[in-house]
Symmetry: C2
Subunit: 340 residues, 2 copies
DNA sequence: CATGGTGTTGGGAACGTTCCCATGAATGGT
DNA sequence: ACCATTCATGGGAACGTTCCCAACACCATG
C-alpha cells in the first residue's frame, strides 16, 4: 500500500543518526541542537513521516491510550461520564477510546484481554465482574465507576447510592406514599442493586412498614426491563390498592415503564407515582416529566480521570474511594397523595 | 509491578523453541504436533502468559482493533450505529472501540493520528473534515458514515438525506402547512445540511412558495442549538403569521427547541408544528411526542461493518456507496392545519 | 594548563512478536 | 529400497521504536 518510512530514513535524509531523530520525536527531553532539530523537522515534513506508536509502545511500555469501558453506550448516563473523563485525560496527552460491553461478560472479557495484552495505559471501567483479583492481575491501572460495597483495594468513584436511594424514598414518603415498591435488577450490576434493595428494606423497617414481596420487581435496567415492569405490575392482582409508588433503579427503566403503562391507560403521576435515578437528559422531556435523583455525571467522570492519572503516576499509592451525593429533581411523575 | 513473561520463557518452560510457541498462539495455522501443543498450552497456563499484541502487531501489521469515530457519543443515533457495527465486527474477531470527537476538529485529528500510527486495522467514521485525500493518505481502511455529495472514491453508508428531507417536507405540506421553516447547521456536518437546505429550497420552488430567509435558522444540532432556535423564533417579529412549521436538522435539536418553546408558552403541535430527523428513542416520549423521520441505525451500522470488512479484505476494490431510505414516524408535534 | 562539568551525538542492544528458511524426520508411491 | 512430499521444529532476522552508554566538543574554573 504505502512505503512506510521509519526514523532510519528520516535520519538518513536529515544527515543525522536515528538516535537524534528519536530524541526529536519522543518528548522525553533529550537535548538536540537547534541546527539538528531544524534538519530533522524538515526531513519529517519532506517525507511525511509519522511515528509508529506501536513500536514506540513496545519499547517504552507506554501507549498513551486509555479505555473507558461502559455497560451501555446508548445510555447518556455512561456516555457523559465517558466524555467528562475524556476531557481530563486528553489534557494530559492521553487518547481516550470507549468500549461498550452491553452488560455482556463475553464483551467485557474481550476488553480485558486487550488491556492485558498491553494496549492501554489505564482503564476506567464499570464492570459486571466482581473479580477484583483478576483486575489487579491484568497489571493495568484501573478505576472503577460505580459504588461497590465489598471492594476495598481499588480506586472507585461513584454516587453514594445509599444516600440517593434514601433521598428518593424519603421524598416519596413525604409526599404521602405509604405502599412504595421498588424495581431493580439482579442482572449485571447486582452490587448496586443490592445496595438499593438493602436501603429500601432498611427504610421500610425504619418507617415501620411491613415489606410486601409482591411489589419488589426484579427487571433489567433497560427499555425492556421497563416494559417488563409495567407488565408485572398490571398482572398483579388489585395492584391499585397494593402499591402507590415505585422507585425505579434508573431513568431508562422508569421512562420505559411510564410509557408502557400509559399505553395500558395508566398514567404516571396520577394513577401511580414513579421515580427514577440518574436524571438523564430525556427525563426532563417525558410525559409526564420524570421525578428522579440526579447523579453528577461530569463530576464522576472527572474524578475517575483524576484517580486514574494519580494511579498511573504512582501504582503503589493507597486506593481511594470518592462518592458524590445525588440531587433530588422534583418533576411530574410523583404527586402528593393524601394519607387516608 | 508485573514481571512480564514472554514466549521465550514459555518456550523454555515447555521445552520447545519460541517458534513453536508462536505457532501455537498465533492462529496463522503453522503445524504443531499434538504433543508439543499440549506442553505449550500447559506452560502458558502455568505461567499465566498473555500475548503482547503490541509486539505482534508491530511485526504482523495487524492489530485486530477497529475504531468507530462518532461526533457525539451522547446522541443515541451514533451510539446505536456504533453498537450495530460492533456486533458485526466482533464476529470477525476484531475488537471495537469508540472515539468521541464532540464535533471538534482537534479531537478528530487526534484519532486520525492514532490511526496513522498504525493502531487500528480500520475505521468507521463520521468526520467533520472534507479532506478525503488525507484520509487516504492515512493508509488505513475507512468507511464513512453519512451521506456526502462530493465524495466518490471512498466507501460510504448512510441515509438518503434528500429522500428523508423530502419525506418530512411533503408530510408537512400534506398536513396543510404552507409557511415551512428549516433549522440546520453550518457547523461540523455542513455537508448534510447543505443537502437538507438544498432539498428544502428545491421543495419550495417546486411548490411555488417564495422562500423567506427569515425562517431559515442556522443553529447547532444540539440542545444548545434547540434553545437558540427557540430564541431566534420568538425574537422574530410577528412569527405566528410568518411560520407554521419548522423542519429541524435532527431530533435532539427539535426536542430541545420544543422544550424551550413550551417554557415560553408556545406549544409544539398546537401553536407551531415541529419535525425532527433521526427518531432517537426519546422522540417517542416527549411532550408532545415528536413527529420525525426514522433513520435505520442498525442497518447503517451493520452495512458500515460489512463495507469495512470487504475493504480490509481487498484494499483495492472499487468503493461503494449504500444509502437507506428513511421512514416517516407520525406523532404529536405536527397537527393538521386548515388551509386558509 | 589540567580538570570537571554540560551539551550533543551515534552505535548498539533491547522490547516481544512473527516471518522466513534450513534441517531432519516421517510418510507414501513406485 | 529410493526419491519426493509433507510435517514438525529451531534459529535467526526482521518490525520501528526507545534506552543506555561511550565519545567528543566546548566551556569555565582553579
Amino acid at each position: 500500500m504505502k512505503p512506510k518510512i521509519s526514523i532510519i530514513e528520516v535520519a538518513r535524509h536529515a544527515g543525522v543518526s536515528k538516535s537524534t531523530v528519536s530524541r526529536v520525536i519522543a518528548d522525553s527531553g533529550g537535548s538536540v541542537s537547534p541546527h539538528a532539530l531544524e534538519k530533522v523537522l524538515a526531513a519529517i515534513k519532506d517525507l511525511g513521516y509519522t511515528k509508529n506508536t506501536l513500536a514506540a509502545g513496545l519499547r517504552s511500555q507506554k501507549t498513551w491510550m486509555i479505555l473507558v469501558m461502559v455497560p451501555d453506550i446508548t445510555n447518556p448516563y455512561w456516555s457523559e461520564i465517558a466524555r467528562a473523563a475524556q476531557d481530563r485525560l486528553e489534557a494530559e496527552g492521553f487518547s481516550v477510546v470507549v468500549g461498550n460491553t452491553d452488560w455482556l461478560e463475553s464483551r467485557e472479557a474481550r476488553y480485558f484481554d486487550l488491556a492485558r495484552s498491553g494496549r492501554f495505559d489505564g482503564m476506567v471501567i464499570n464492570s459486571v465482574t466482581n473479580d477484583i483479583a483478576m483486575i489487579h492481575r491484568m497489571g493495568v491501572p484501573v478505576v472503577l465507576v460505580g459504588e461497590r460495597a465489598e471492594v476495598q483495594n481499588i480506586d472507585t468513584v461513584g454516587t453514594d447510592t445509599i444516600m440517593a436511594t434514601r433521598l428518593a424514598l424519603e421524598y416519596l414518603w413525604t409526599t404521602g406514599h405509604r405502599r412504595i415498591g421498588i424495581a431493580t435488577s439482579e442482572h449485571g450490576s447486582e452490587r448496586f442493586l443490592s445496595f438499593r434493595r438493602r436501603t429500601y428494606e432498611g427504610f421500610l423497617a425504619e418507617k415501620g412498614v411491613a415489606p410486601d414481596p409482591g411489589i419488589v420487581f426484579s427487571v433489567k435496567l433497560s427499555d425492556e426491563g421497563g416494559r417488563d415492569l409495567a407488565r408485572s405490575l398490571l398482572a398483579l392482582h388489585d395492584w391499585r390498592s397494593r402499591v402507590d409508588a415505585i422507585f425505579c433503579g434508573n431513568d431508562i427503566l422508569a421512562i420505559a415503564a411510564m410509557d408502557a403503562l400509559r399505553e395500558a391507560g395508566v398514567e404516571a403521576g396520577k394513577d401511580i407515582s414513579l421515580m427514577g435515578l440518574d436524571d438523564i437528559p430525556a427525563a426532563a422531556n417525558t410525559r409526564p416529566t420524570l421525578t428522579t435523583v440526579r447523579k453528577p455525571r461530569a463530576l464522576i467522570g472527572a474524578a475517575a480521570a483524576e484517580l486514574l492519572l494519580a494511579r498511573i503516576g504512582d501504582p503503589d499509592r493507597p486506593s481511594e474511594k470518592r462518592l458524590f451525593p445525588g440531587e433530588l429533581m422534583v418533576r411530574g411523575s410523583v404527586t402528593e397523595r393524601h394519607i387516608i
